[in-house]
Symmetry: none
Subunit: 280 residues, 4 copies
DNA sequence: AATGAATGAGATTTCATTCAT
DNA sequence: TATGAATGAAATCTCATTCAT
């Protein structure tokens, strides 16, 4: 898990002179074929740094320090700060695309598809906090740099595929028919990412931790509940007061009911209709 | 509406002396060398600049240029860049608080309260794009500066009041009982703000404008629909197949039906169940 | 006594608008004939400021604030910072010259002359700490500015008069003959001023207050003792009990011994030969 | 001998690359890119600059130029101007302490101890004019920065040792018993340093060079004479009219007489009792 | 490949000085 | 005269980038 904040004071690692030659190599010999590894190392470090400080705030020196490599290599391999940043952006968007690609590959459909998407987003958001931050920084810059990337590196065909699958679900009656699949896809993204875009500020506002894993699990559950409430058909008779099928997070229940539909974690309101212990 | 991007190259205004009168004042009228006004002018300019470029990216010179005042005054009135930024943060949070305060003052309750909140948020988000950006920048810095403000300047008591009102609504049966008011409040914020946190990136992703007013109206409607689907009791019998009461945005229908509940703008799927022309 | 240090944060006095018109004048009327007073006020303030911070460290703004007058006047009356500083130097040297002039006017001779000189110097040093500092600052600049003053403003004819008087004393046998009057004059200055040139540093070095009045009285006494031990003839047999020429300054010891010759304050070693309570 | 004044206009050295070898090194010899040396070089340059201009007057650019190194290194190695100045102060006080330490190590006692001290101070003052100036600047600032140093870096234990040795001398009868050792130690410092604190101003006042080596030798002798007149026992019978044992400076006569006691340089008054040619 | 250093630009901050009301 | 503001220069400090060893 990448360290994000408070990493400003990284100092050059001061290795003993003897340690300079990597173990197993003859001193004086040039270290071989490490270029690939170095490049990757720099990129990794750059992701961390740009995530933590943004483009303007990022320091080339710190990236070098994070990578444990010399600053010169950054310029040798990437050209300059901006190009390095562009490489990072590319990486980020590539990884982001994988989320949907992974899910689509498994041919899930219907409610399960939606749930896996939400889970996929939340997992990504929680696991790659750094990448998310880069998306947010870049957005604040009005995609100043993102625009410089070739379109293929950014646009995500997966999203239209998704829309179609949802539309199919509507046709088949798995989903309600009266919502716009396009808006839904956006909602899935927005409702998920929105939790992260302001988590630190919100923590201050509400005076409680809204950035930690525990809280995010609650949000994940809540998000699922809201979405499913919106897209699944209401089954008359089982309406509001139907008993919740409590299940562990991630587990898909075969018969989702009105409220906490497929495999939703509900540490939230109990089935009785009265939320027992709203987290406070 | 504040200019946000592409304002980097502002140079010293080389206006003719007569042009010194700031916009909005009658030319010829005395523009007193007014400390109060100068301070305010700087603050306004600072909001714009910090919104557009963030703390690191902001340039004191540009702030002075935007304010049409001398750089020295910034230091005289605010001390230094950071203190100026803190003053800006204070301002932003103060204005943000007003959104809820305004609504709470009018003693609206029930569905209308929720709708006004969503509207309030979207209005704020659309009208004060700059302030929102500042919130987002600051969040990315992990509230590095926000933390330096006294707690009163940030914490918002309105939010707990809100929770209570919602809980009241649940007790009275206006809202479903099986959701957590606290989570709802967060959802209202997150679902609203989420639309803005990534609008530029999303525009690129989807290859369409997702930052403009038109699109945001759609999101506002969609958000309302989702939220109301979640919190309003299902009225058995009128359920899914009820015809949508199409209404203009902002207009509250007295008899909200299943889907588009109070005064929701529905440029979305038509009543027939099949979304006629999903916006594309 | 002028405030010397810690005066850096003087703020513009913010008088109520109504207070602007000095009492007794018709509002709107121009304040009359205050130029002389303003000039003097500025000069006084400048002495304080330059004394406290030196030429480079002094701030024109602070001088204006100290004077309670507007910065503009400084430029109107004195031209610029350097010219103001030169005016200050002139003032300082003029006042310094008075010390000797005052004494010489009274036609004191012999030991009493010397004692009055030492007293004069110490009095000046203690009372006009500010002026002394200016001398020291200027010295550190290698008299960079002092040199720009006309010679009359600096050179002090009194000093050569002094030398002659001392030489007379030697001829008359009042003083020992085997010292150089010129060196003595210098010693008088140096031994006196030396106590001030490093008093703060010495305080730190010795870990005790060596800047206060109490300590300086000890130094004054010690200095007299040393000087008199040097210039007064040792009278064999009459040694210790030589008649004291009692004079004002300091406490008169009833039983002065060998050491403290004319009117010397001796809080120092007692007559017995063994210093009773060396100050520690 | 360090250059002190008139060094303000040092510009970037535009030397040919080959000229890079710093003075004192063999051209062609490897000048390792040695951090240690660079640091030392900067410190040395800083001492000169701060000595010549004081803290406020000193220019970081000039320090870099003096050091023949890049400005950036100053910040890399020392942080900022103030920290650099603090490092300089540390250095100065450390070197100052050595004066006494050197002497105390040699186990000299009695009159010789005192003479060596005076010599030590005058040597230091003449040789390290720059350090003395720094002491004086700092004193004028009321030890504003000195106070920030840890006490050990400033306080000098040697001084109390000195007092004890003098007291021992008094007990043994080598010194007169009726003076306070503490005051004597202070007098030694003050009478020595006092000559330097105002030498340039005095030069102007008296219209003769009072800053040069020649003059300082006279002051050194005079100071010794005065001090010894004060602390050595009067030998009745040899009193005033004893012939001076003229000796070379620094040479200690085995049988010091009343006036020019141990090894005092007397280019001063001739033996006859009447100073023949007072220097003028 | 690493270290130390240099370059050059630019950003923040501070001042003296002047202008306008 | 006082106030507020403006100007212009400079000084401190920071960075990206490049060079040399």
């Amino acid at each position: 898990m990448p360290q994000l904040r408070d990493v400003r004071k990284i100092k050059k690692k001061s290795v003993a002179p003897s340690a300079k030659t990597p173990a197993g190599t003859v001193p004086g010999a040039i270290r071989p074929r490490d270029m690939q590894r170095s490049r990757a190392e720099i990129l990794r470090a750059a992701v961390s740094e740009f995530a933590a400080a943004g483009f303007e705030g990022a320091r080339v020196d710190r990236i070098a320090a994070r990578a444990g490599l010399n600053k010169v290599l950054i310029y040798r391999y990437f050209g300059n700060k901006e190009d390095l940043y562009l490489a990072v952006l590319r990486e980020v968007y590539s990884l982001l695309g994988e989320v949907e690609r992974d899910i689509l590959e498994h041919n899930v459909r219907g409610a399960e598809l939606i749930e896996q998407l939400i889970d996929g987003y939340f997992d990504f958001l929680q696991r790659r906090e750094d990448l998310v931050n880069i998306l947010l920084w870049e957005n604040l810059l009005g995609t100043k740099y993102l625009q410089k990337l070739p379109h293929e590196a950014v646009g995500r065909s997966t999203l239209s595929t998704l829309e179609e699958l949802i539309r199919d679900g509507q046709t088949e009656g798995v989903f309600r028919a009266d919502f716009d699949p396009h808006q839904l896809v956006v909602s899935l993204l927005v409702f998920s990412f929105g939790n992260f875009a302001n988590r630190h500020s919100l923590s201050l506002l509400f005076g409680r931790d809204m950035a930690g894993a525990e809280w995010m699990e609650k949000r994940r559950a809540e998000t699922k509940r809201v979405i499913f409430g919106y897209i699944l058909p209401n089954k008359p008779g089982v309406l509001t007061d139907a008993p919740d099928t409590r299940s562990k997070p991630g587990v898909t229940t075969d018969a989702p009911d009105t409220r906490s539909k497929p495999g939703v974690t509900t540490d939230a309101p109990s089935a009785s209709g009265t939320p027992s212990t709203p987290d406070k």
